[in-house]
Structures are given as C-alpha cells and as structure tokens.
C-alpha cells in the first residue's frame, strides 16, 4: 500500500521508510511558530520546563500580528512578554511592528517555509503552507512550548481525502470560492483529523495566492492539513522568496484515500458562507433576497495577499463604497502593503472611500479595527463566521472572496461583480 504526500513527508521526518494512517510517530520540526496571543501561554509553559533555551534559534518564528500595534494594555503586556523572550533567546525570526505581517502570509513570503517541511504553529491556520508542498498544522501553546524546547512533536499519521481539480476557474472565481465550495460539500468536520490533498491538472490554473487561500481553510473542514503538489509555479515562488533547499514529495500511485472528489473549477461560481458556520454556503445566484451589509473586510491570512488586493482594486477602481458601509482593506504584510502602494492600489481604495490598515488579524477574530455592533452584518474575506466572531453575539459574518466583498461594498448588499457590469 502506497503513502500519501503527507505520509511521505511525515515518514521522512520521523526517520522511517514507511508510515500508515493511525500510526503514532515523533517527527523532527523544521519550524515552530507562535503569535502574540498563543506565545505568552507557550512561554509560560516553557519556563516550567527544565530546559535552558530553544532547540534552534533559527527554527522558531514569533510573529506579533493579532492585537498589534497594541490595542490595549493587556495586549501590550503580552507583546512585551514575547519580545523579552525573543531577545533573551536571540530568536532570529521575531517579527514586530514595522517588520511583521499576518503570520501565514509572512512566513512563505520570507522564505521560512518550503516544500517538504514539517511545521507546527500555535495558530489553527498554520495549515496554509501546504500550498508550497509542506506538511504544516495548527497546535496549541503547550505543543508549541514542547516544540520550541525539543524540536520535535508527536503526530498521529492522518489518512487523506483526495480532491482532484480539473478545468479553469472563470473570471471572478478564485481560491476562496474553491475552498468554500468544498467546505459546503463536506461540512465543517468533513475532513476531521485528515489530510486534504489537492491534485489534478486544474491545480496549474490556480495562482499561488489561490492555493494559500485554499490550504489556509483546510482547518475549517476540520482537516489536519491541506497540501498541494509542487509544480512550476510553486518552485518559482520558492526560488523567488527562499534561499532554502526544498524537497519535493509526491503521493504514491497506489496511495489509499478515504474519499475522492473531482471538482471542475470551470463550473464553480462565486460562493458565500452564511452565518454561523463556514459550511452554510450558497452560490451567488442562489442568494435571492437582498442581504444588506454594514461592513466589508478585505484582508486576513486567508485573503490579504497581493492577488486579493488586485482583484478588489479592479472592482473598486472608479467606484464608491456605498454610503453607510465601512470598507476596511488590510494588506497582510509590509511587503504586500508596499507593493499595493507602488501599483496604485491603495490610491484606488482610498478614492473609493475604503480605509487601508497596517497588517493585523484585528477584525477577523473580533479583536479590534472593525468590531460589529448588535444586528450588524459584515461581508468578509476572512475564514470564520461563528457566533460573535467579529463582535456582538447578535452580529453576522458572511464569508466570501475579495471580488464579492469589494462588489458588495459598492452596492451595500451581497453582490457578484456582474451586478456592477463587470
């Protein structure tokens, strides 16, 4: 019986020739990640351990991105705790205000994650790096602490679901629509504990930013990781961003999958997840009533990359955000921010009446920078629409692509770009 792509990476990092689903292994880690919310808990746990320092100061990444620039005194104390730890242990990849970005956009951009890696992060969207052909998964703070101390983590080897992608997505359909379609199909626990392995000739028709978005939301189907094959686009991305050697693993031809789905990308339509679960999806043509919105957020680890901003700008160019709607655009990293400025995208956003923010996770998790009041509705390119996720327990979040979020900001209700004649 052959191995899946994920199983091959895990076997290699456990020093084994072969692993199978359900097996418990201990794997060497290429990177251990934490942010300003999860790292303080991990640091506290590591302080209790009988170790002097981290296993490798180059293989720990600490990214201040959730509540920074500090939103209040308590957040400032958290960041201070992490800053002092990073300084004490001489952590190479510590990213604070001015250098930081949203962690899952930042790490690939900085070349810190490449194909073949095993990465754990104390943030559930750590699964994003599967877009590059790495095994990466979210863990809690105690696992992060153990990972920082030992450079190892235990895993139960996952089985996998195979998604065979064919065809080419149409103009306003992007990675977000692909993953929302899949979550709508299999449910928020449809891939619980499993790998989601994406394959097929359709992968070539997805940009790297599309793939990051898709792998990012594997957790929203309960997945342990999402992973893509390494093709020319992925290789070119890594060559541009990283000095590190990468290693390509491919699933065996006789690898066994729990389930297989074929998805024709050309048939997908802009898709929106209604409150309060990412699986409550409707295609844009299935939304028959006006869903009036108060806010549109374009950003996050899911959709704050340059492709996302270009799409939003293409729609907002020469148009105005509807009176009464707050449109908040958040480039995910400093480099993306700068690129958007040089391409004139920020000018388009500001002229349209949107605001542009420094990189932050802020509104996605109801932290700050766009909290919703009772009864308010937000269309958002973020990843979760749980009860109270972005603010008041009686507010509503609708998840969608940058194209739909931008078009909706203009019309004031959930809209496809086609409603603007695009």
């Amino acid at each position: 019986m052959g191995m899946t792509m994920t199983q091959k990476i895990l076997a290699a990092h456990a020093g084994l020739d072969y692993v199978e689903a359900g097996q418990l292994i201990e794997a060497d880690l290429d990177l251990v990640l934490g942010n300003d919310i999860t790292s303080p808990v991990a640091i506290h746990e590591m302080d209790k351990m009988t170790v002097d320092t981290v296993f490798n100061k180059d293989k720990v990444a600490l990214v201040m991105d959730h509540f920074i620039p500090n939103k209040d005194i308590k957040s400032a104390e958290h960041c201070k705790c992490v800053r002092e730890f990073a300084c004490k242990h001489d952590i190479t990849n510590y990213f604070d205000v001015g250098e930081m970005g949203i962690e899952h956009a930042l790490l690939p951009e900085k070349g810190l994650t490449v194909a073949g890696d095993v990465v754990i992060g104390a943030d559930s969207h750590t699964c994003t790096y599967g877009a590059l052909g790495a095994f990466s998964t979210g863990v809690g703070s105690t696992d992060m602490a153990a990972g920082m101390a030992t450079g190892k983590a235990w895993f139960k080897v996952p089985s996998a679901i195979k998604f065979n992608l064919t065809g080419k997505p149409s103009k306003w359909v992007s990675g977000k629509d692909v993953i929302l379609h899949i979550i709508g199909m299999i449910g928020v626990d449809g891939a619980r504990y499993k790998s989601m392995e994406f394959t097929g000739e359709g992968v070539a028709n997805l940009s790297m930013d599309d793939r990051f978005t898709i792998a990012n939301m594997a957790i929203e189907a309960g997945g342990k990781n999402g992973i893509f094959p390494v093709d020319e686009k992925a290789a070119a991305y890594m060559k541009e961003h990283s000095k590190r050697e990468y290693k390509v693993y491919e699933a065996d031809a006789d690898a066994v999958y729990d389930e297989e789905y074929t998805i024709d990308l050309s048939q997908l339509k802009p898709t929106v997840a209604f409150p309060h679960l990412p699986e409550n999806t409707k295609t844009i043509d299935e939304i028959t009533e006006d869903v009036v919105i108060d806010q549109s957020v374009i950003g996050s680890c899911t959709n704050g990359r340059i492709d996302d901003l270009r799409i939003a700008a293409e729609i907002l160019k020469g148009r105005k955000v509807k009176k009464g709607v707050r449109c908040i655009v958040i480039p995910a990293t400093q480099a993306i921010y700068l690129q958007a400025m040089e391409e004139g995208l920020l000018k388009i956003f500001i002229e349209a009446g949107a605001v542009v923010s420094t990189p932050t996770c802020g509104p996605c998790l109801g932290g700050y920078m766009g909290i919703l009041a009772e009864g308010e509705r937000c269309i958002s390119t973020t990843n979760r629409n749980f009860v109270g996720r972005m603010g008041h327990v009686k507010s509503e979040v609708y998840l969608a692509s940058p194209a739909v979020a931008a078009a909706s900001a203009v019309t004031g209700k959930i809209s496809a770009p086609s409603e603007l004649g695009l």
Binding site: I37, T38, P40, V41, H44, E45, M46, K48, M49, T50, H66, F67, K71, D72, K74, S75, H78, G121, A122, D123, S124, T126, G138, V139, G140, S141, T142, D143, A145, A146, V188, D189, R192, Y193, I219, G222, K224, L277, L365, G366, G367, I371, R384, F386, V387, G388, R389, V393
Partner: protein
C-alpha cells in the same frame, strides 16, 4: 479517579470562539478566562457552573482556532470532564496537554441532557447517568493520561517524570 457533577449540554460544532471569545484573549490568566467561559453560547454558564460539573456535547466540540485558552477556561471554571460525540483535533490535543479530561462517547452524548447528574470513572471508562439510571462505556483513560491529568498537564508531567 472519578468525576461527578451536573451536566451542561450543548449541540454540534461548539467552536472555540464561543468557548472563549477572542475579545478576552488579551489575557492568558486561566482564572480570568474562566469568568467568560461559554459566554457567547450560554451567558448563564459561569453563574451556574459548580466545581466538578460536566460538559456534554454533540459532534466536533472545540472546532475553530487553536487557542489553548479554550480548554484552560473550561478547566479553570471548575469543569471536571468534557464528553462529546466527537472532538475537533486541536482542541482534543490541547485538552490532554493541559490536563482537562475529555471522552469521546456518542452514546453518552445522546443519552445525557442538561441538568442530569453524571459520574465518570476514568479507570473503567464507564459514564453513569445517575438521574436517568443509565450507563455508557467510553474508553478508559490509560495510566499515563491519568498521571498527566493528576500532574496538571503535559509539562508538569514531564517534569515530574524527570525529577
């Protein structure tokens, strides 16, 4: 080792945002987090919960973010055990790591209601609904996990072992 308490029953997909909303994640103090535990799904929970009480839920308990603050808040609120039909994987791992007992048992999840008095025997894995006079067989806790829970979490457990 046994847990004994009154049950708070919830449905499918109880996510970590309702267990502990992110607006409170500017703190990592378990006692402070506990004062907001389950706030967005059951605002009376923190007023009603007593030490030893038990949470029972349906599918995919703890889905969503990786915040360890979620099991920390539940544990610090005094909850002695969480029983669910299934758990989301990061929550499952986090709960064990911090020493919060959790059991997957679909039958128990279906056969227990809010307000029932329930006893969980970790040695045998038997869950008894004392109110309804029924019992269910969950997985017994292996010895290492009982020690881990007694130590108060993975880090203390490793330190105790090395001592």
């Amino acid at each position: 080792m046994k847990a004994n308490g009154t049950v708070f029953k919830y449905g499918d997909n109880v996510d970590t945002d309702v267990i502990i909303p992110a607006r409170y994640l500017n703190s990592s103090d378990p006692a402070e987090l506990a004062t907001h535990c389950m706030e967005d799904i059951d605002k009376d929970f923190v007023n009603k919960v007593k030490k030893g009480d038990i949470i029972v839920a349906d599918k995919n308990f703890g889905c969503g973010s990786s915040r360890e603050h979620a099991p920390l808040a539940i544990k610090a609120a005094g909850v002695s055990c969480v029983i669910a039909e299934t758990f989301a994987r990061i929550f499952y791992r986090n709960a064990i790591n911090i020493g919060l007992p959790i059991i997957e048992c679909p039958e128990a999840s279906k056969g227990i209601e809010s307000g029932d008095e329930v006893e969980v025997d970790f040695d045998s894995g038997v869950i008894t609904n004392k109110t309804k006079g029924t019992s269910f067989k969950g997985q017994p806790f292996p010895e290492f996990m009982q020690k881990l829970i007694a130590s108060g979490g993975l880090v203390n457990y490793i330190n105790d072992k090395n001592r």
